[in-house]
Amino acid sequence: NAGVTQTPKFRILKIGQSMTLQCTQDMNHNYMYWYRQDPGMGLKLIYYSVGAGITDKGEVPNGYNVSRSTTEDFPLRLELAAPSQTSVYFCASSYSRGVNTEAFFGQGTRLTVV
């Protein structure tokens, strides 16, 4: 059982480049999330999705886009990378209700924009 898989684990981008962070889960979770974590700080929500075809903005959505065409996948797109987007990115997923509603996290992607 792979859980939540994020790729890549590390990436260096030049200013103005674009990239997609991939996230896939095999637990049939309907909720999925993208967070960024700056050094020594907490997790800030970028975007989230409560099901396929439904996405919504979190607290720091500017400069990012998402899509959710399937239950399993929730890619995060960075357009025109900026140094302020240097961070560690986490994808997470969870059930909507029931006994086990905690979020499961991927191992993170460390992104540096130079």
Partner: protein
């Protein structure tokens, strides 16, 4: 909007002693979930304990227990018999029970160090 506040940025505890990490939250909802997550230097996010708001009984998981005060909107984590492996960053988190607004909101975290 729901907010989660962890006002202590750092705490330290002697090995084998007990430490309590504080968390408060703000919400107008009556039904929700609360979580404590641990993040060691490996960056992996690990669930420590969960609490459902409709349950009055405080959750416990081995050496970890919570003090859930719904009226005061307080959710503190107690770690008993602290071990060196408990050293990590700890995050408190809130989630609505279900619906379109079910985003998982985190506090800023607290760094716990354990002295041998």
């Amino acid at each position: 909007a729901q907010t989660v506040t962890q006002s202590q940025p750092e705490m330290s505890v002697q090995e084998a002693e007990t430490v309590t990490l504080s968390c408060t939250y703000d919400t107008s909802e009556s039904d929700y979930y609360l979580f404590w997550y641990k993040q060691p230097p490996s960056r992996q996010m690990i669930l420590v304990i969960r609490q459902e708001a409709y349950k009055q009984q405080n959750a416990t998981e081995n050496r970890f227990s919570v003090n859930f005060q719904k009226a005061a909107k307080s959710f503190s984590l107690k770690i008993s018999d602290s071990q060196l492996g408990d050293a990590a960053m700890y995050f408190c988190a809130y989630r609505s029970r279900a619906g379109a607004n079910s985003k998982l909101t985190f506090g800023k975290g607290i760094t716990l160090s354990v002295r041998p």
